[in-house]
């Protein structure tokens, strides 16, 4: 990471009026973020007034989106506000550090939030950035840098702030769960993780509630879109359960509690073939590690 030298100056870190919720007592709740922005970027004049949100206070900060964080495994949110001067113009930036329970939780949130990735070479951690926002993930930390003004002159400052917050975060090895799915035909950037109904919502509607028993069993699922030829792209999902009986129960539960728009085409104890509202087919197979799911097939297998 290049030094934060682009001629910008952090004038003041925080203004209390930005608070939308009361910080919780942070003692013992949030692992410290060792990298202090002041060390990395220079003239930070103040660091007081930071906000901290424990899990039960997250709704107060991101009303409408907190469920997804809690579902993946959320420890705490640290928010710092910065005032940055670039070429005589003052900009307000905010750094939101979401501490998640484990690397899969942090990556899951990142993948759910990233959209099309547009990274810069200036940051080593996986990230995407535009003039309004930078999202990054490393270890158990999911980071969001906001620039509501949208001035692209702030991009170097946003990148520098992200790098400084991520600096002490140990890198983790890649998550191996995608190895359960074929590599051939996978569309780059289409990967996602699931730990419950909220992450599943934008992917597919199997039914109401925790129909795949992801939350009940603590299962982790990974998926991606695949080039499907003339029939269109398909989505493949690997759901890894802790015990074989959990996978069997989930298959039976899906069959019994499936969405009213899902028609059973074929079913036995090992496999379920469904037809959805769009006339596409889904196959759910019981395998030795859990359930292997293929969605949006043009023809019945």
């Amino acid at each position: 990471m290049k030094a934060a030298t682009a001629g910008w100056l952090l004038l003041a870190a925080v203004w209390g009026g930005a608070a939308r919720g009361a910080p919780a007592d942070r003692a013992g709740e949030m692992p410290p973020i060792a990298a202090q922005t002041s060390a990395a970027v220079g003239d930070v004049l103040a660091q007081d007034g930071d906000l901290y949100f424990a899990p039960n206070g997250l709704y107060g900060y991101i009303n409408g989106g907190a469920e997804l964080y809690l579902e993946f495994g959320f420890v705490g949110l640290d928010v710092k506000h910065y005032r940055v001067e670039i070429a005589g113009k003052v900009h307000d930036l905010a750094v939101e550090s979401y501490r998640m329970t484990d690397p899969a939780a942090a990556l899951g949130i990142y993948l759910a939030r990233k959209g099309r990735e547009t990274p810069t070479a200036e940051l080593a951690a996986r990230h995407t950035v535009n003039s309004y926002q930078l999202l990054a993930v490393q270890g158990t930390l999911f980071l969001q840098v906001n620039n509501f003004g949208g001035d692209s002159a702030c991009l170097p400052a946003m990148t520098t702030l992200a790098a400084s917050h991520l600096a002490s975060e140990p890198p983790v090895p890649p998550l191996g769960i995608w190895d359960l799915l074929p590599a051939a035909g996978r569309l780059p950037g289409s990967e996602f993780l699931l730990r419950g109904r909220f992450a599943l919502q934008p992917i597919y509607t199997f039914g109401e509630g925790d129909v795949l028993l992801l939350e009940e069993t603590g299962a982790l699922a990974a998926g991606a879109r695949y080039s499907g030829g003339p029939g269109g792209d398909v989505t493949r999902i690997a759901v890894v359960y802790g015990a074989a009986q959990d996978a069997r129960r989930a298959l039976a539960n899906l069959r019994a509690q499936r969405d009213p728009y899902l028609e059973v085409v074929r079913a036995d104890l090992q496999r379920l073939v469904l037809r959805d509202y769009a006339g596409k087919y889904s196959v759910i197979c019981l395998v030795d590690w859990g359930l292997e799911i293929t969605l949006s097939l043009a023809a019945a297998p």
């Binding site: 009303n63 409408g64 939030r113 535009n130 309004y132 926002q133 949208g150 001035d151």
Partner: protein, 402 residues
């Protein structure tokens, strides 16, 4: 009590026993539940019973000339100007020109003719922006300015215009202030004590001495959206929602003062759906909405618009797509903001939302955001069509692009 709680006769509705209400309304409301397709030999799980509401009491109320979907059902105009945003700055004159062109294309009449089609000079007109995400994705002032200039240019007194929202703090934070709009009314349906700390127990910031919310009297006990959904009983909820029983009263501003409404939402998503024309009113016109999200969500956007207080007054919808947000909504999410440079106009909010839903889905796909196109996310629009409030079938919607 011999009938379900109804529009205009809500005084003692809360005395109705719940079991009586369910018995009375079960048959009539069965048709509201998302229809289950008949294909397949193996029966799927029965969908959970939808929460009961008092929609039956209003859906057949006599209609008037201005009732939804208005004079132009199924007609949507999209006006795009590639130069309306330059280097992040919105060109006010360009917005005004877009609005004028859009209105003329929508009605086939000039500004004065459009006014006479939809409004009268003695109307009291409420302009409903969406102030959420102030400055980032809230309704742009340039659009509201264009609407006000049209109204006043056609002879409506400036004092007959009220910019309104449910929450006072959001309205002000988004810049809808008396200073910004001199001579125009700025009114919210309610206040929230922004500094309320549940742990302090100090409720004086939002409760009167009699224990009622300070904004209680701003809502009309005679005009109530009733839903069999329980509300949280904690102080924070009451502070934010004014009521915490099964009543969601409409604001008195709407029931007693405004004679027409112009709806100015923004182009953004909420999950797999959209938060635009029908939601801006559906969740903006009534109190006690927090309890409704999970059990009813989009259906509220339809049923609230079926109440005559909205159905007969909502004459124009202008979706502000100068800047759009394709994911992360309904709250502001800077990572998914883009310059869409388009205004959408319609008298029919259901045709408008259906059109914008499909456009937003296309944008989400383009940006590689996961898209779930399950019919459940547009069912509320078809429900609106069944209630005669608009057109939701894309094949019957005419989209005119200029």
């Amino acid at each position: 009590m011999n009938s379900a709680p109804g529009y205009g006769s809500m005084q003692r509705w809360w005395e109705l026993k719940r079991r009586d209400f369910l018995k009375l309304s079960a048959t009539a409301s069965a048709g509201l539940v998302l229809g289950r397709p008949s294909f397949g030999q193996e029966q799927a799980a029965a969908p959970p019973a939808r929460a009961q509401t008092n929609i039956d009491a209003v859906k057949d109320a006599p209609r008037v000339a201005s009732s939804l979907p208005g004079p132009l059902p199924g007609r949507v105009v999209a006006v795009t100007d590639e130069h309306v945003v330059v280097d992040g700055t919105v060109d006010k004159a360009a917005v005004a020109a877009m609005f004028a062109r859009g209105l003329q294309t929508l009605t086939g009449r000039d500004a004065q003719g459009s006014f006479e089609l939809l409004l009268r000079r003695d109307d009291v007109v409420g302009i409903k922006p969406n102030p959420v995400g102030a400055g980032l994705i809230s309704t742009r002032h340039e659009v509201v300015d264009a609407i006000i200039d049209w109204l006043t240019g056609c002879g409506l007194p400036r004092g007959n215009i009220v910019i309104w929202d449910r929450f006072e703090s959001m309205l002000l934070e988004a810049g809808f202030t008396p200073e910004r709009y001199p001579g125009v009314g700025i009114e919210a349906l309610q206040i929230i004590d922004e500094n309320f700390d549940p742990e302090s127990g100090d409720t004086t910031g939002y409760l009167a001495a009699d224990g009622r919310h300070l904004s209680c009297d701003r809502f009309d006990p005679e005009v109530v959206y009733w839903a069999d959904c329980e509300a949280p009983q904690d102080a924070a909820y009451l502070n934010q929602h004014v009521f915490n029983d099964q009543r969601s009263p409409f604001g008195k501003l709407l029931t007693q003062r405004l004679t027409k409404i112009i709806n100015v939402p923004v182009f953004k998503n909420t999950g797999n759906g959209i938060s635009m024309a029908t939601k801006n009113i559906g969740y903006g016109a009534i109190a006690n909405t927090g309890r409704l999200h999970r059990p009813l969500f989009f259906d509220v956007c339809t049923e609230v618009l079926a109440f005559p207080v909205i159905r007969d007054k909502l004459v124009l919808n202008v979706t502000d797509g100068i800047r759009g947000q394709y994911d992360g909504g309904p709250g502001p999410n800077a990572g998914f903001i883009y310059d869409h440079k388009t205004l959408y106009l319609a008298t029919d909010p259901f045709a408008l939302d259906r059109t914008c839903h499909d456009l937003l889905v296309a944008k989400r796909k383009q940006m590689q955001v996961d898209v779930n196109e399950h019919p459940r996310f547009t069912e509320y629009l078809r429900y609106g069509e069944r209630l005669g409030l608009g057109i939701a079938d894309p094949a019957r919607i005419e989209v005119v692009t200029v």
